[in-house]
């Protein structure tokens, strides 16, 4: 197993849920004890419902938020502790983020050339007289041709898919080691989504970039990713190689997600799922016990008392479940991902 490009250990993020100044405050546990690593040339999918904390994880990695606890390890150093301007700048040039909204992430009054030149100049990536060549090369890489023509355009002259390609080209300008893509295709039309997914696959293969692909769409995660992290209410409830997890899910929540997703290959046979009460959102001051217990068809007595740990019940595949991945079945306690 190759070395991690980026690793997080016991990452935790809490947001204050009220404005009390005396006594004990309440907190939303948006991210709770999350550990994983991103490897070069590998796409890791982070899947969950809205409110599960998946975007918060991406933002923690991009250093848009500071973690409440835990560490973010990049090149052997815990960057969550190093807040010097130089190290933040360096980190941000190597760990780049692609946002959901290609309409909001480009400046409407600047040309595409401007968007791509800026990172090249700020981070001093190439010599002054090579900037134009590099801009063209970047545009060609993301499939925007002819580059000279595209570079002179303004964002409003491009379609949503083309804008997302510009946003990707901009992240590539600084030659990143890690790319965090937060639902990069969810605002795009169906017929052009696959083009963006294919572009990410190409970048993974050609540039050895470590990708985190945040999505709620299991089918696109399977298409793109090598590994999967399933998040529920702030915690990772299952992780492993994606084909293995989807073929034989351990956690009942992963099973529920799988049975709820539409599958064009399954044909006209309608799948039915059991309707149960319960919330997927990260809870305010959650009590001990499994957070899925209210919706779980397998729940036993211990589930509402003890928070299950991530246990590697199959080689490489771990889940937080007292029933399907009991501690006794564990090959090893996770995170021993390294």
């Amino acid at each position: 197993m190759s070395e991690a490009a980026l690793e997080v250990r016991h990452l935790e993020k809490r947001f204050a849920a009220d404005a009390r100044f005396v006594g004990r405050r309440s907190y939303v546990h948006a991210v709770d004890d999350v550990s994983f690593m991103l490897r070069p040339g590998t796409i890791t999918a982070l899947v969950g419902e809205s409110g599960s904390g998946k975007s918060t994880v991406a933002r923690l990695l991009a250093r848009l938020y500071a973690p409440t606890a835990g560490s973010v390890i990049y090149r052997g150093k815990d960057v969550a502790r190093d807040k010097s301007r130089r190290s933040v700048l360096r980190y941000r040039s190597q760990v780049q983020m692609i946002f959901q909204d290609p309409f909001g992430s480009l400046n409407p009054v600047k040309t595409i050339r401007h968007h791509l030149e800026r990172p090249l100049r700020i981070h001093g990536i190439v010599e002054r007289d090579e900037v134009e060549d590099r801009v063209h090369e970047l545009l060609r890489t993301v499939g925007l041709v002819p580059p000279g023509h595209v570079a002179d355009k303004y964002p409003h002259e491009l379609s949503g898919g083309q804008r997302q390609r510009v946003a990707i080209a901009r992240t590539l300008a600084v030659e990143p080691v890690v790319l965090l893509a937060d639902e990069p295709t969810s605002m795009l039309d169906v017929s052009i989504r696959i083009g963006i997914l294919n572009l990410m696959l190409k970048l993974k293969e050609e540039r050895d970039i470590a990708f985190l692909y945040v999505t709620h769409d299991l089918a696109s995660a399977r298409y793109l990713a090598d590994d999967i992290l399933v998040m529920y209410a702030g915690q990772i409830v299952e992780q492993g190689p994606i084909e293995q997890v989807l073929a034989d899910p351990l956690h009942p929540y992963t099973k529920l997600l799988l049975s709820a997703a539409a599958d064009p290959e399954a044909g006209v046979e309608t799948k039915r799922i059991e309707v149960r009460k319960g919330l997927a959102s990260a809870a305010v001051d959650p009590p001990d016990g499994c957070r899925f217990v209210g919706r779980c068809p397998l729940a036993i007595d211990v589930c509402s008392r003890v928070t299950p740990a991530l246990v590697e019940a199959h080689p490489g595949q771990a889940a937080r479940c007292h029933v399907t991945a009991p501690a006794s079945a564990g090959i090893a306690a996770v995170p021993s991902t390294s």
Binding site: E49, S50, S159, G161, Q162, D189, V190, S191, I192, R193, I194, G195, L197, N198, L201, H216, L218, A219, S220, R222, Y223, L246, L256, L257, L258, S259, A260, A261, A262, D263, P264, E265, A266, G267, V268, E269, T270, K271, R272, I273, V275, L279, A280
Partner: protein, 345 residues
């Protein structure tokens, strides 16, 4: 101005076979006027029969929501019906008066919009919104309307006591269920659902669609289900119509469409949804982007993106780039608007 008010024909218990609930004939809808007008819907033929679930799929801007708004008769300027007819049980709605249309809406055809958040009044209790809606159509007492509201909430799986709730006290999925319950209150013959679950999580989405399907089987209303998610339609619809750039390019029973899509656009759409099971291969999607409706390509509107449109076949190419294809019935019930789609391919 005086209007002769003729109530819509009462729904017979079992509709006459063959007469669709809604039938669109060469419907055209334009936004704006004169040189700057844009034809968002251009010559659409579509029928929904009693008890049928019809899916209408297409990308954003293809005109599918405009079709829904036209059927519901809620188009507002600058949108206007520029041609064709909308028949409700054989009667054209296009030249009906305002009061007649007000009665028709919600009683005969009800609609569930994409955004449940903005469809409910945030400062009114859920029950009162039922009362308002029902009393606009029927002389019922407040108490009777509230009782009906409780009953309907029960039907869609919400605790009856929630009639006292304000919308913000409900989750997104519950709000969408409330809207569906309201839409069913007057027992319409057709329920239009315009992207009813796109804003919701997959699990909630499936729960709601399952429930709608159960209700549909129980009460027998017809559904026009509009979405960009073709894989969802294949599961839930009996028949699917595919829209591209203001036109319907293919329509077929769901199983047939899934097994052998004929229009290259439909095939491209199918190629845009990666499978959850079975072997994985690199998908290609569709090159290019949907056209701007103010400057649609001549001939077949899909030809600039079409893999079957190549200059190496000059005769076909000339046709594809100049002559607008019409829907042809390739097999019984399977219609395709494509010059190149032969019966044998």
């Amino acid at each position: 101005m005086t209007e002769v008010i003729e109530p819509m024909p009462a729904a017979p218990a079992i509709p006459a076979p063959g007469v669709p609930i809604i039938e669109l004939r060469q419907l055209a809808v334009e936004y704006g006027a004169g040189d700057r007008s844009v034809r968002a819907v251009d010559g659409v033929d579509l029928a929904v029969h009693a008890g049928e679930v019809v899916g209408l799929a297409g990308e954003s801007g293809c005109g599918k929501s405009t079709v829904a708004n036209a059927i519901m008769q809620i188009l507002r300027p600058p949108a206007r019906i520029a041609g064709g007819s909308i028949l409700f049980r054989g009667e054209d709605l296009v030249d009906k008066g305002r009061e007649e249309l007000r009665r028709y809406r919600w009683r005969n055809v009800a609609m569930v919009f994409q955004s449940a958040m903005s469809s409910l009044n945030p400062v009114m209790r859920v029950g009162d919104q039922f009362v308002d809606m029902m009393r606009a159509h029927e002389p019922v007492s407040r108490n009777a309307a509230l009782a009906r509201a409780e009953e309907l909430l029960g039907v869609v799986g919400i605790d009856r006591r929630r009639v006292r709730a304000f919308p913000h006290e409900l989750s997104g999925g519950m709000r969408q269920r409330v809207i569906i319950a309201m839409a069913l209150a007057l027992e319409p013959q057709l329920l239009i659902m315009d992207e009813p679950t796109t804003a919701l999580d997959v699990v909630v989405q499936r729960e709601i669609l399952q429930q709608v399907q159960d209700l549909q089987r129980e009460f027998g209303f017809a559904i026009l289900f509009i979405t960009h998610d073709l894989s969802l339609l294949i599961e839930f619809a009996d028949r699917i119509a595919i829209m591209y750039a203001g036109e319907i390019v293919e329509t077929a029973p769901s199983a047939r469409l899934q097994a052998s899509p004929r229009h290259p656009y439909t095939r491209g759409l199918m190629e845009s949804f990666p499978p959850l099971t079975g072997p994985l291969r690199r998908l290609v999607g569709i090159p290019g982007a949907p056209p701007d409706l103010s400057a649609v390509p001549p001939g077949c509107r899909f030809h600039p993106r079409c893999p079957l449109c190549v200059p190496e076949q000059p005769v076909m190419f000339a046709r594809q780039t100049t002559e607008r294809p019409v829907l042809r019935e390739l097999e019984p019930g399977h219609f395709v608007a494509c010059h190149a789609a032969g019966a044998s391919t």
